[in-house]
């Protein structure tokens, strides 16, 4: 009997394998992709409920007791990310049905999507630092495959920058993992959390933690490590951009939360001012970048950078309230960002270009699309009662409680510029008169609108249901910072050292 935590990994992996083998049978490949994703979504929702009632879920790969084997574990944060990953993959697949070229489908588009979901899900479920590295590798390679799928020149250029800069992040991760093994003699997160709090060389551990900060900061696209993101996100097909936009950088944020929440919890208090500084700079630089753009996807890509700063702010506030707000903000942002890419992408798909200058007239021609855009973009800006407001309010409240005035001011101020560049898209794509005669262009069908509509509905639900969402993210934050509980759940009541000593003797 396998433990349930393996299911969301096995299903997409097998799905990817089978879909690769029968890659020419379009219908079946689509069915497999859809089924695997639906399974993961259902599992994710089940896991959300299970963790709320039964707490952290833990199992050991191949049955080796922790800390010797590889631990799989899921807490509130993992469950949120797992469910959102599946949701995002699901809408992406739905959107792909109507937008992806058939030849890309034949060249393993859906298997790569499933492998990406596999990699992300694994990253959210592992309790082992090196194993996390492996999952990052999988999702890096899968995402590189998706970025370059289609083989256009722009894609290859973007893909090159994407892969080289991300490999640098991976390198830092790998070096950090080696160093942490050197210092603490283990790779299991629970075991590390237990040991690193007793290591006598705090500044050395801080230096090692620095490698992880750079590694995950690079994956999360924090300043000044974000260059790969705006360089590559506008090049692949719209569906891929939408999925990446919502998901990839947040895996980096997840890793920051996970690793600095427990493993380097003591270092977090040291590094918090640095993280807040980086968060503020990221918010500002990202939004400035967005203002300079004149292409829908490029604007949105820079906004990812800006908003990742808010999530880093949640970590930098170094406490349950801040982290809870950060998680809430991240969950909102994952949904809304992908929605925006899908809506902007639908407009791009219909118009045939994403250059603002050559677009227009969408408010009259596609009012449903316009309404979706308004809702999603105001949610992004943080206009209440849409979902973005609550994450931002939580961050501001936590910042005020910590008397971190500067970051509070930056977080509030950046919203205004976010609004500004969202209005730019609204003005140019929706309100402006059409650039050219649009009567021959296709109309948006249900297939094009439904994926974004699903996400917008989720965003609205997260706003109106902010109370349970916040309760859940608070629980998730408490779990993510609960070193004692982690060690107990993974290694037993006596701790990991006790297990190890028993074996060594």
């Amino acid at each position: 009997m396998i433990h349930h935590l393996f299911l969301p990994l096995i299903v997409p992996l097998f799905g990817a394998g089978v879909a690769t083998i029968i890659s020419r049978r379009q219908l079946w490949v689509r069915v497999i992709a859809l089924a695997a994703t639906l399974f993961n979504l259902g599992y994710g929702i089940w896991l959300l409920v299970t963790i709320a009632t039964a707490g952290r879920q833990v199992t050991q790969a191949a049955g080796w007791v922790a800390p010797f084997g590889i631990t799989l574990m899921a807490d509130g944060l993992s469950a949120i990310m797992l469910a959102l990953t599946a949701l995002l993959t699901l809408v992406t697949i739905m959107f792909s049905f109507v937008t992806i070229e058939a030849r890309q489908e034949r060249f393993y588009y859906y298997p790569l999507l499933l492998l990406l979901m596999f990699g992300c899900s694994g990253a959210f479920l592992t309790g082992d630092l090196f194993n996390l590295y492996v999952w990052f590798e999988i999702l890096l390679v899968a995402s590189f495959g998706l970025i370059t799928l289609g083989g256009s020149r722009a894609q290859l250029e973007g893909g090159l920058k994407y892969v080289v800069l991300n490999l640098f992040g991976s390198l830092c991760f790998l070096v950090g993992a080696g160093l942490v093994y050197g210092v603490a003699g283990t790779l299991n997160m629970a075991h590390l959390a237990e040991r690193l709090n007793t290591v006598q060389q705090p500044s050395l551990v801080t230096a090692v933690a620095g490698f992880f900060l750079v590694a995950f900061g690079s994956k999360a696209a924090l300043a000044p490590l974000f260059f790969w993101l705006p360089a590559s996100y506008h090049t692949p097909s719209i569906a891929v951009t939408a999925l990446f936009g919502g998901l990839l950088s947040k895996v980096g944020i997840y890793a920051l939360y996970r690793v600095f929440g427990t493993v380097f919890q003591r270092e977090l208090t040291w590094l918090a001012p640095l993280i807040l500084l980086v968060a503020g700079v990221t918010m500002v630089v990202g939004v400035i970048g967005a203002m300079a753009q004149v292409n829908v996807r490029r604007i949105l890509a820079f906004h990812i950078v800006s908003q990742v700063g808010y999530m880093a702010m949640g970590l930098g506030l170094a406490g349950t309230v801040g982290l809870a707000a950060g998680i809430l903000f991240m969950a909102h942002n994952i949904v809304v960002k992908t929605a925006l890419f899908l809506i902007g992408g639908a407009a791009e798909h219909l118009t045939g270009t994403g250059e603002l200058k050559q677009m227009g007239g969408m408010a009259r021609r596609e009012p449903a699309l316009a309404v979706l855009w308004l809702l999603a973009s105001f949610a992004l800006v943080g206009i209440p009662p849409l979902s973005g407001f609550f994450g931002k309010l939580g961050l501001i409240q936590a910042g005020v409680a910590r008397e971190q005035w500067l970051i509070v001011g930056v977080a509030a101020g950046v919203s205004l510029f976010t609004l500004f560049s969202m209005l730019k898209i609204w003005n140019e794509v929706f309100w402006k008169k059409a650039y050219s005669d649009m009567s021959h262009l296709p109309r948006a069908g249900v297939g094009l609108l439904a994926p974004a509509a699903v996400l917008v509905l989720v965003s609205i639900a997260m706003g109106l249901g902010a109370a349970p969402a916040l309760e859940y993210s608070t629980m998730a934050a408490e779990q993510a910072l609960d070193t004692v509980g982690l060690v107990r759940d993974v290694c037993g009541a006596d701790g990991c050292d006790a297990v190890e000593l028993a074996v060594a003797r």
Partner: protein, 813 residues
Amino acid sequence: MLVLIVLTALLMAPLGLFARHESRPVVGWILALIPLALFVTISALAPTVLAGGRVEQAIPWVPRMGLELRFALDGLSLLFALLVSGIGTLIVLYTAYYLAGDPGMGRFYLTLFIFMGAMLGLVLADNVLTMFMFWELTSVSSYLLVGYKHDYPSARRGAQMGLLITVGGGLALLVGLVLLGNAAGSYTISEILAAGEQIKASPLYTPAMLLIFAGCFTKSAQFPFHFWLPNAMQAPTPASAYLHSATMVKAGVYLLARLHPTLSDTPLWLYTLTIVGMTTMLIGAVTANRRDDIKGLLAYSTISKLGTMVLLAGMGGPEAPAALVATILAHALYKGALFMLAGAVDHEAGTRSLSQLGGLRRAMPWTAALAILSSLSMAGVPILFGFVAKEEQLYAAVDNGLPPGFDILVLIAVVTSAVFGVLYSWRLVSGVFFGPRGSGMKEHVHEAPAGMLLGPALLTTLSVVLPLGLLPATATLLQPAVNAISNEGAKISLYLLPSQIGLPLILSMTALLIGAVLTRFEPQIVAAPSPLPPWLNGDRIYDAAVDGVLRGATIFTRTLQNGKLRSYMTWAVLTLVVVVAPPLALFGFGGLALPTLDGVEPFEFVSALLIPIGIVATLNARSRLGGIIAASFVGLMVAFIFVIYSAPDLALTQLLVEILTTVFLVLLFAVMPASFERLSSPSERSRDGLIAVVAGMVIAGVAFAASSVTQVPNISAAFRTESQSQGFGDNVVNVILVDFRGFDTLGEIVVLFTALLGIYAMLRLRPVADPTRDDEETPLQPTLPEVAALLGNGQAGQPAPREREAPVAGKGH
């Protein structure tokens, strides 16, 4: 009940969409039932409030954030709620005629109802966060209404300007409210007010208040943010009349009045509001006289009156609260009417320009009569309600709470604005309805439809009737509002003629007289230079700011995101050094012995030494092939080290990867020029070299330190004991790879599998160059530039552009 009132408007909003398919006025009559029902419901609650009671209702929402749907109806809320729903009813009716036949009418009604619900929520909220939510919602609905005619760039600009300024202020307000809530320990307004003394003693008081002021000033169009309001006149007139005159722009004043009871008696409050209010009042009054567009004139007169209200909220004194309440009511009555009448004129005559209008009293007698009466009220001419309110203002100004010297200044300012008020009222009436027939009007101008005149007629009637015998009743109605603003038991007593002739009446009459005289000099005053220096033109500053921000952002981004991978790499490596080096320096290596060469096998020594040589060789390689060989040399040495440490499977993997990489690179390089091209300058190269060396030293330092200080037992000891007994293998590395950590190995296999899929697709799936050809069969050769791009800065025969990531493009609006 209060929640129901707010939700009704919001949830009924989609009913407005019925007007999409049915644009006859009858839809308006039916839709007007919604605000009418709200008006009646609120009126039904009035007796409780008039009896000194308070209606409250609270629904928890997000308790952890202190966000609660808490509503309370007191005198101040009652006044605003009645204005919002009452004028709202008239506006809905008016719209039915004003926008008759317009296909966008459904959208207009939808937004209007959302606004109405938001505005009701704003004035009824008893929780600052709830209030803020509705505050933002009014900004957003205002945006959509101003941009209603979004085909016109001016409408888009006006809408965007209004939204940016009010949301910008709103963000300040949000932070201010959170600070206020922190200082008070609660977000409930009544509790915040109860904690007034505690808040004033808190260091958070000043920043909180300044931020809240920023929110109020932007929303209520106070100097220097006032300029968005005239630009918002791009909205269809019903929206201008409703949002930008009668209700939304008073939200800032409302909040100031709301916080007034216990937070106002500080110099900060007194001086900030007095100075800003006074400045706005004067600038608005003067500028209104320089406007040619009648909606622009009305907008500036609104700004002036909003300034008066802020002044009244700020200056203190026993009469100020009563004057504030009276001014709010008077302004809503006459300005609402005048806007709707201006819309009627625009609708019938086809222009809003004073220089093109004239002599309309014959063609539009009813409109003229109503406009004249409301303008007289605006001018503060006796027996109209505007006069009564002005009396109150002067009373308050005479008896204000300001220090000597400053109090006279305020009094003079109030009188001056009254003088200019007479003048712009005169300009409006004489310019539109008297004089010769205007030049730019439609051929045949008719009276506006009765439905359009109904609302103005009702409001004008109130302006006329209230002073004629209903003043005591009005005072009774307004007293609870005064109570809500003042905690010192201020009383409101309205009268048409004071029992004795005092200074206020004399000043009022003087103002009328001077105003009347000044009407003779209208042309000179209209042509007079602006009181503000040209650089202080809000419109121009806004445009310059938008332009400057875009330009700055473009330059900044182009410099940073410059498309050069090598520059990105420099940032990345530099970041690593900056983050890791300081703690390492703090660590300081104190007491750590330098590593000795004892026990180092010759093999290890040689291979370790060969690695740097390989790196140097790679860097110095002149040809691609040389570079590849030198680089693969490094990889082979690493594999060799694995062999030394008895990890044959790792070494094998490394060897395979190395060989594959080399083959792949050689294949690709076969189609590229054999030699490298130098793209960076020598100084850049030495800078990058320095960074690389420092980074290498930092990593080596951390690695050395990490391996020297280990005090905790390493789990590899346990692995050694376990691998034989449990894993049944002699080689620990083997057992770790396939058993203990077999899960990692599974992952790595998937990495290889995924890479295969990606590479296969990359090699076989080419972009469609020629639609007639089956692209799957396209061989590798014709896509050299792509391959070159993949591998960086090479060229494929022709001089390729140096940087292929398109630089970020220029500005756009």
